[in-house]
Amino acid sequence: MTTTGSAEHTPPARGRSPQSDTSEAEAAPADAAPVFSVRNLWKVFGPKADKIPGGPHAGLPPAELRKTTGCTAAVRDVSFDVKKGEVFVVMGLSGSGKSTLVRCLTRLIEPTSGSVHIDGEDVIAMDKNRLRELRRHRTAMVFQNFGLLPHRTVFDNIAYGLEIQGMGKAERRAKAQEMAAKVGLEGLGERRPRQLSGGQQQRVGLARALAVDPEVLLFDEPFSALDPLIRRDMQEEVIRLHSEEGRTMIFITHDLSEALRVGDRIMLMRDGGIVQMGTPEEIVGSPADDYVRDFVRDVPREQVMTVRSAMRPADGDEAGTGVALPPETLVSEAIEAVARSGEHARVMDEGKVLGVVDHERLLGVVAGLPAEAAAA
């Protein structure tokens, strides 16, 4: 569980330490107590919404549920844990319930049933003041449409959260300046949001969230409204911030490549429920069903898969020769090494040979052949 150590690999994409545990949240090791722990969460919109979870209609597909009860289950029976320091991505198409889910975490939307705990504290049971404290100090959110106040300057927008906390003017201004510099908004502090580009506006949104120094950052499709190039910049920015500060992040997106880029773990949602949860490599390498398979079909697999899942046991004297690669090496990097040397490469961890990858194994990954088939 060394998700914070992601800076050890630099080019070309972020390397990730593979996870040994499964996607089952309950299996999380005890040393990384979850920041957010969500169990059996439901959010149902419609008449008599509270009768749906656990009721006779709970299992109906969305269209039928709507027809028989007039209700829509935006989030249905969702359980997961977010570990300290990880980037947890919730991904799904529009209408899959991901935005509702993230709002339920701080009760911007009241969940219908289920439990939400932050650091072991029950969020559902919080009274108004406690909840306000939670929102003021422990979480901060970045929104798809920025949610900036057009009549305030950039500095005043960044300091808005601090102002709500009741911080003095001079102090919050200093903090705002610091945050503006941190997200690359130097010299724009006295402008109004309207005068900024979309990317800059979202930097303000990001700075505003960072200013309150939250334990968890919540991103609700933060870059969906931006141009592809700017979006990439902003993704890099988030990755950079995460590697510098190691802050826990929950990141909502409908964009698979974004999810793969920023996420340590991804939870795929459909019709309010969880379809699959796991590392990017697990999602791409072993999709849980046809829906996910369809989803990841066009993903450049060599950019996501590591040699750990591509390797096979060493045959004969293979363990003695070949380039040594750490197990987190991406397949695309291994291809380069193998092509250069013309022979297989060894996957080595702390001086031990775990296995080898050769042309055949690497091409199998690119072609999307099931690991078993390639191994056979």
Binding site: H137, A140, M141, F143, L149, R152, I164, R191, R194, G205
Partner: protein, 662 residues
């Protein structure tokens, strides 16, 4: 009552398994309902009252009770505790507030007052260049007021305006906050505001006179009632339209209810609130000027005196001053609104503008004191009354009639009367009463909903019950003549404006100017051109309603999906084909809205036309006010409101309502 029950019956939902055909379409169902309604209602109506005008048996005498209540109020005003302990205080306070402002302005003297208005204009506009322009307008407006020897009435109007706007804005803001923040208040207030919007300003005056008698308190009350709704509406609109993302961001950072209102919701609504203030000010000016009919002093009173004597020269001079003040007020508030859009906050500390305004004003006042001249110097005036009178005379002599081919204004006026107004009026008055009630219901149903049909029929019957059937039909004929003319001109110009940039550039400033003027002002030029006849008031109404109709039409056509127009052009459609087949059909909701707005505006001015020979209901109101015949006046006022309801309901399309509700 039979009409009501049959309406209910017919309104029952159709059988779900109704056969396809006539009944399967919405319009088909409505048509059938109308036929059924007619079959039940007409024989009943004939049996009840026969054909022709509203049957006498079905009228109720409202005059006597109204006169009695007025008498009672007049007798008890000094003794009844409600008056002595509440209304009298209100009246005294408002009078002393107006007097206080007036004596403050007098204390400043004319240099101080001009300095004050100019400085306010300058700082409201913010940036130096725009500020200078608006300040120039202020200087010019009040300079002309002085030059035309209208300084004192102008200051009386300003004093009344100051108090009226202050109270209207506060009342409007509070009502706006209530209906913007609470759904319950919204459901209570919205229908009230909707109805108030269609009521002619004129109709507000009489009830206020009943309470406060003639004088400035009555005008103030009427002005507040008339002018507060736009502030309230727009405040509520702004509060409700606040960017949900910004509101959510505020909540996500843990803002409390009050913090969210203060730091996010209210500031986000600033623009709408400023627009509301602008509308409130312009409507207040309109009402304060009309208020001269019930004894408000000031420029309106000068106009009123001139119109009463049909002396256009005497009416035009204060009229010019009102126009200039209207432009000054509009530009100042509009500039203040635009400033909110500007990115950078104005340079300099926030205490600076008020300080400079105060300093300049004091300097002006001191200067006036030093000169010993607080009143506008007598030698500095120009009398335009004579020249205007001469010009009007020349005009009537030369252009009134006998211009080759064109005819002349008098000829047009007579032609319109003979060929449009009289046949229309006679036709309406000789129609059987039940036919008109049924027609109102049918139109309401076709254009709108069951609800609007019911309201239209009931309001129409109400007019009959009041015993004002034929007078109302006279007014109705004027409104119909006016709206027909307005729509022909408005749609034509609107289409031109929408299609040609050049026409738009030409017409826009004219429309802007026309839309800021108080209703009363429109009566002056038409009285000069056409004399004191019915048509004069109608032409004034057309001029008043035209800008709105043109604007809505042009906007509606412009907003038509350009892709649809392009598609039609790519298929080789001619300009006319594009217009007829694509733009006009797609702009239909806007055109219907234009009809609705136009009709409400025409009615508002047609009834004021009672002052310059419009006759009918409008005249009754004036007569009632001037001769203290309260029963006649208020009866006519109620009939005007009912007529307004009928006209609004039969032209208010369902889509409009739905949009309003959503």
């Amino acid at each position: 009552m039979s009409a009501v029950t049959s309406l209910r019956k017919a309104a029952a939902p159709p059988e779900p398994d109704a056969k396809p055909g006539l009944l399967s379409t919405r319009r088909g169902r409505k048509g059938l309902a109308i036929v059924v309604l007619a079959a039940v209602f007409i024989p009943l109506a004939i049996a009840l009252g026969g054909s022709g005008s509203w049957p006498n048996d079905l009228t109720v005498d409202v005059r006597t009770p109204l006169d009695d209540s007025y008498q009672w109020v007049a007798d008890n005003r000094d003794s009844n505790p409600v008056f002595t302990y509440f209304l009298l205080h209100l009246a005294n306070n408002s009078t002393s507030a107006v007097d206080g402002v007036l004596s403050f302005l007098e204390l400043l003297g004319w240099p101080g007052s001009i300095a004050l208005f100019t400085a306010i204009a300058y700082f409201a506009a913010g940036s130096a260049r725009k500020g200078a322009k608006v300040a120039g307008i202020a200087l010019f407006a009040f300079g002309v007021c002085g030059l035309l020897d209208m300084w004192e009435p102008a200051m009386e109007t300003m004093a009344l305006m100051t108090v009226a706007v202050a109270v209207s804005a506060v009342v409007g803001l509070l009502l706006g906050l209530a209906s913007g923040l609470s759904d319950r208040w919204e459901t209570i207030l919205r229908p009230v505001f909707d109805t108030m919007q269609i009521m002619p300003a004129y109709a507000y005056l009489l009830p206020c006179v009943l309470i406060f008698d003639i004088g400035s308190p009555a005008v103030l009350l009427a002005t507040v009632i008339y002018a507060a709704p736009p502030m309230a509406r727009l405040t509520a609109l702004g509060l409700r339209a606040a960017d949900p993302a910004a509101m959510e961001a505020s909540a996500s950072l843990g803002a409390s209810r009050m913090q969210r209102l203060r730091t996010a919701r209210l500031p986000l609504a600033r623009k709408e609130m400023m627009l509301g203030l602008n509308q409130t000010i312009m409507m207040a000016l309109s009402m304060v000027v009309i208020g001269s009919v019930v004894g408000a002093a000031g420029l309106g009173d000068e106009v009123f005196k001139g119109l009463a004597r049909v002396d256009v020269g005497q009416a035009a001079v204060p009229g010019i001053c009102i126009v200039l003040i209207a432009i000054w007020l509009d530009r100042t508030t509009a500039a203040a609104g635009e400033r909110l859009d500007e990115a950078t906050g104005g340079g300099g500390p926030s205490w600076l503008p008020p300080a400079v305004i105060a300093a300049v004003t004091v300097a002006g006042a001191v200067l006036a004191g030093a000169l010993g001249k607080k009143e506008w110097p007598e030698g500095w005036t120009v009398d335009l009354t004579g020249p205007i009178r001469d010009a009007v005379e020349w005009f009537t002599d030369n252009l009134g009639a006998g211009v080759p081919v064109l005819g002349g204004t008098q000829t047009w006026s007579e032609g319109f009367t003979d060929w449009v107004l009289n046949p229309l009026r006679d036709g309406l008055q000789s129609s059987p009463w039940w036919l008109l009630v049924l027609l109102a219901a049918a139109l309401g149903l076709l254009v709108g909903t069951w609800h609007s049909a019911l309201v239209a029929a009931l309001a129409m019957s109400g007019i009959g019950v009041l015993g004002l059937w034929s007078k109302t039909l006279d007014t109705l004929s004027q409104v119909l003549g006016g709206i027909a003319l307005t729509l022909v001109l408005g749609f034509a110009i609107g289409i031109l404006v929408a299609r040609s940039e050049r026409v738009e550039r030409l017409v826009r400033p004219v429309l802007d100017a026309l839309q800021t003027l108080p209703q009363f002002i429109y009566l002056i030029p038409v009285a000069a051109l056409f004399g004191a006849v019915r048509t004069a008031a109608i032409f004034a109404a057309v001029a008043y309603a035209l800008p709105a109709v043109i604007r809505i039409t042009a906007q509606g056509i412009k907003q038509v999906d350009p892709a649809a127009v392009e598609a039609s052009r790519s298929l080789g459609a001619s300009t006319f084909q594009q217009l007829r087949q694509v733009q006009l059909p797609l702009a239909r909701p806007a055109l219907l809205l234009a009809v609705n707005q136009g009709i409400v505006l025409v009615l508002a001015v047609v009834v004021i036309g009672g002052l310059i020979g419009g006759g009918a209901l409008g005249y009754d109101v004036v007569y009632g006010l001037q001769k203290s015949e309260f029963g006649i006046g208020l009866g006519a006022g109620v009939a005007i409101v009912l007529l307004g309801l009928v006209l609004d309901r039969v032209t208010q399309p369902t889509v409009l309502k739905q949009r309003k509700n959503s």
